[in-house]
Amino acid sequence: MGDKILKKAELQDVLRALKRTYEVFVPVKENDFYSFKPLMDEEKVDLSFTNTRLSPKPLVLPQSERMFEFTLDEKSEDAHIVKESPKDYPPRIIAGVRPCDAKALRLLQVNFDNPEFKDPWWVKRRESMTLIGLGCSQPCSACFCTSVGCGPFNEEGLDILLFDLGECLLARTLTEKGERLLQLGGMDTDADSGLKKSADEVKTKAEKKISSHVPTDKLREKNVNDLFDAPFWDDVAFACINCGTCTFLCPTCWCFDIQDEVIRGEGDRIRNWDSCMFPLFTLHASGHNPRAQKVQRIRQRFMHKLKYYVDKYSNGVACVGCGRCVKHCPVNIDIREVFNLMNEL
């Protein structure tokens, strides 16, 4: 494993060549924002994005996923038998993933792929993916990745990390998967020590550019009930309109709901993203709702990310500092301020 070098313009030739073996996803700009979409033949790979509006989360945890199928037709011998829906897991390359989003996949793994439980679809999809990261040379002012165990050139979860050196890209191989991909793509020019030094400089410069910092050091030692009963929740919650923007844009939010949909006796069991911001999220069959008020729901979101997760997994906070919720919350509820409130209580 090592550092290879390629001209910027060559990246799309490499990715196109790899389409023979992989499905290739890249950030594509449509309607003024970027999302991960399949690379089309005539499309130029555009590396000028800050980050995609939605994270790559849906590629591993689709917003709606058919899990099982069944029939209610009594005449069928399979009546009421729930069968796994056919699925395929083609090898995929996701190129242009920001390091924060790759780290987020690591956090999702805690839930979907752990010694106790393995979500077969999540695991297979994740395994079939090769992630080509693109370091953040121009982090934006809402990003605070370096405060939450990540960084603009963090390597966790990635197979290859690209450094933008102006004319060319330095590709750092991080895993065997990445190695194989570089070979297949014919990227075989070694980076010399001068270029490696430039890559280090780009990284150091980017880390220094992160202007937003949040404190996390005292979250672990705080008493969970003190935080739960903290006086600031009403103020934090007032502006909240209880939409799902923060949770759906968040690369680490993993909650889902399972629904049966039946049309004329034929049914699907579907897993959909859910959001702790929605009243239905906790509604009991009895009609009782333990989180009937928005203040309870918004508290849950922050307590989960910044306290329950911290206590349960000893793995830091459930936030990678990507800044999406900060930038897109329609009422400017800023998680960085909540970090401050909770850590300094």
Partner: protein
């Protein structure tokens, strides 16, 4: 618009000190350029955080329904019309409110500015009466506000507050544009198939986050039809049929009540022009019933009114 801040602050301070109101709902400055955050203030000493600029797109009428206190509220022309709708629909009482009306020259659409900058990050924004100065690393642009207004503000015919107790500034001149619905006419001219395609494309990126619904003051139902689980009216997936059902029903629930404040569109995290649904219904309410929502706190919306002289025979 920033010129209103001092007057808003002074009025807010006075009504809290004199106990005319128990609390005040306004805006404070956001943590990023071009953002603002709705804030609730109970103490006159805290009124110095009140803020106003051309990015106060959230409709504060959204925070009123079912509140019992005496409330001071800051509202633009369109927001005020929503307050009037709330009063008509018994969501709040006029005598509970002290309304600080904001004569509005239009809200600036931050997404249009971001689009102009093609991904370059805005670090600082300042505004004067007609201009917005946008600064970032290595650039500074002076933009004409008029070129970056929200789509609803471009066509707004009611910039001044209709009911108020105090004003944040002098009344502004209303526009005399005769055709506020030129864009709707373009859609009306499409064939059925083309229309279906247009609306299907429009909502293609919808994530069902419900930001449009939740930013809307009209959506105050205790349980929205999409959140009903027994029976469940709409599927929860992003199946295009369910997503379309949500958008069409949401729009119909707003028929004759929508003031085109644009909060839905501004709140959408994936830039869907959701007003394309509601505006046709606004136009119909005007064409069929001569009704524009919220112009008075007495007139009920056309779709919950019975009149013996209704022009439709089936209802007479």
């Amino acid at each position: 618009m920033v010129g209103y801040i001092d007057r808003i602050g002074a009025i807010a301070k006075r009504i809290l000190e004199e106990e005319t109101v128990d609390l005040l709902i306004g805006f404070k400055k956001g943590t990023l350029p071009m953002t603002t955050e709705p804030v609730l203030i109970r103490d006159a000493a805290e009124t110095d955080q009140l803020y106003w600029d051309s990015f106060c797109f959230i409709n504060l009428a959204n925070y009123l329904p079912k509140r019992e206190e005496k409330i001071g509220i800051i509202a633009k022309g369109c927001d005020l019309r929503n307050i009037a709708v709330h009063i008509v629909e018994n969501q709040i009482k006029r005598e509970q409110l002290y309304i600080i009306g904001v004569p509005c020259k239009g809200m600036v659409d931050r997404r249009k500015i971001l689009s102009f900058l093609c991904g370059k990050e805005v670090r600082e924004v300042t505004e004067s009466d007609r201009e917005i100065i946008v600064r970032g690393e290595g650039f500074e642009h002076t933009l004409k506000k008029g070129d970056y207004l929200q789509d609803n503000c471009i066509r707004c015919m009611h910039r001044n507050p209709v009911i108020y107790d105090a004003l944040a500034g002098d009344l502004v001149e209303e526009r005399k544009d005769p055709d506020p619905y030129d864009d709707v006419r373009d859609i009306e001219a499409m064939g059925s198939e083309e229309k279906w395609q247009f609306f299907s494309n429009l909502i293609r990126d919808c994530t069902r986050c419900y930001a449009c619904r939740n930013a809307c003051p009209l959506c105050y139902c205790p349980t929205c039809f999409v959140d009903e689980s027994d029976p469940q009216w709409v599927g929860k997936s992003i199946d295009p049929t369910d997503t379309m059902t949500f958008h069409i029903l949401r729009a119909y629930h707003c028929a004759g009540r929508c003031t085109d404040c644009g909060a839905c569109e501004q709140a959408c995290p994936v830039d869907i022009k959701v007003r394309s649904f509601t505006r046709k219904l606004n136009k119909d309410a005007l064409d069929l019933y001569g009704h524009e929502a919220g112009l008075s706190a007495e007139e009920r919306p056309p779709l919950d009114t019975y009149r013996p002289d209704d022009y439709e025979a089936f209802i007479r």
